[in-house]
Symmetry: C2
Amino acid sequence: MTSDTVRKEIAVEFELGGRRVRIGGIAKGAGMIDPNMATMLCFLTTDAVIEKAQLQQALSLSVEHSFNRITVDGDMSTNDTVLLLANGAAGNVALQAGTEDFTRFQRALDHVTLSLAKMIVEDGEGVTKFVEVQVLGAANFSDARRAAEAVAKSCLVKCAWFGGDPNWGRIMDALGYSGVRMREELVDIFYDGLCAVKGGVASQTPFQRLKEVVAAKRFQVTVNLNLGPAEYTVFTTDLSTQYVELNMGE
Amino acid sequence: MTSDTVRKEIAVEFELGGRRVRIGGIAKGAGMIDPNMATMLCFLTTDAVIEKAQLQQALSLSVEHSFNRITVDGDMSTNDTVLLLANGAAGNVALQAGTEDFTRFQRALDHVTLSLAKMIVEDGEGVTKFVEVQVLGAANFSDARRAAEAVAKSCLVKCAWFGGDPNWGRIMDALGYSGVRMREELVDIFYDGLCAVKGGVASQTPFQRLKEVVAAKRFQVTVNLNLGPAEYTVFTTDLSTQYVELNMGE
């Protein structure tokens, strides 16, 4: 059983020490359909020569920056799976963490996992908007993540996006209840780089221009807490009447 | 600006050492409408004779068991207010914590706050179901609360209720991702006392009977983790297409 509507697949090819190396991946998943069945599955393969422990290290980091940063409805599945298989056919010198080649491999793997993760969000059940929520200037990493996740999971924020409303009061509210360190008078909020809030108050940007951003199927929301160096990004969606209809059972 | 559709008010009268004492309360709130305005307001009055510190103690406990246990959409307002005023007109002996009279006052106050809290949930924006989520048998208080809140805030669980679907797989899933100590094979789930899950698997109860429970406007979901002594209750709602429509802006 699946509610996927598009194929989610990607492959990249790059060079390591004169050898061509490939990473390919496929994924399925479009919401937490049925907890008795696997819901998000991702199978990755590579022909790189790499030890198991090093492969696990690269994959863990990559998943942290991709599949662990997406949310459709906040309902995690208990059955999510990401597998990465390497057969060594590329014949490169075995990859060692800390080397330039390892970094190149990591970057390619990150591209594959992030691409697949985004495909899952975009094909999410009842999704009409794909939104990148970026938090900058947080006091620390944990605050950056909590702030981004609070905005990305807020029912009210997501309903506003569904309705094409560049509502920033609800974003401020989610930041407030997330419990992170913030000073309201320092907060800036942008829609696709257009300033909606400057220093905690409405900017001079005409509302109509902000509405045009939110009318699109994809846009970015950036929150700058202007307090510290930490940042975090979450990929999320709107909350639509279609989502509710798809999940109201039978 | 308010989206309240009903009056939320209650008054009780009881006796303390031969004196009639009264507690009255009014509240407003039906969802987090606009973060720039107060959204949940509650004003309580009593004619009891009671010191400020003791009154605060009684109120804090009471709020913990009422307004802090309700959720409509998981979006806290930053402007919620509960005020309790006492003028001492009842002429009772000043209430002292730890006495029987204090317990009686606490019980009356709890009745007032819980009644008002339930009225707010029932009148929530786009609410078609009022659901009491009770978790029993948790290893400790913190687990009981996390488990109950995970179920009460799950978009998927709430969508199922909106559709009249006594879905228990989604409840198991929410319990699973809540991170609390649990053993799937020990979990029992009941809808209004009717067993849906026994020891982690579907019970013998005919599905049609469970559907009849969820068809009602009010019902109770009880989860017994059968692991320890702790319990917690949250009052919540379904997630309806009307909720999304009411909150999609402008």
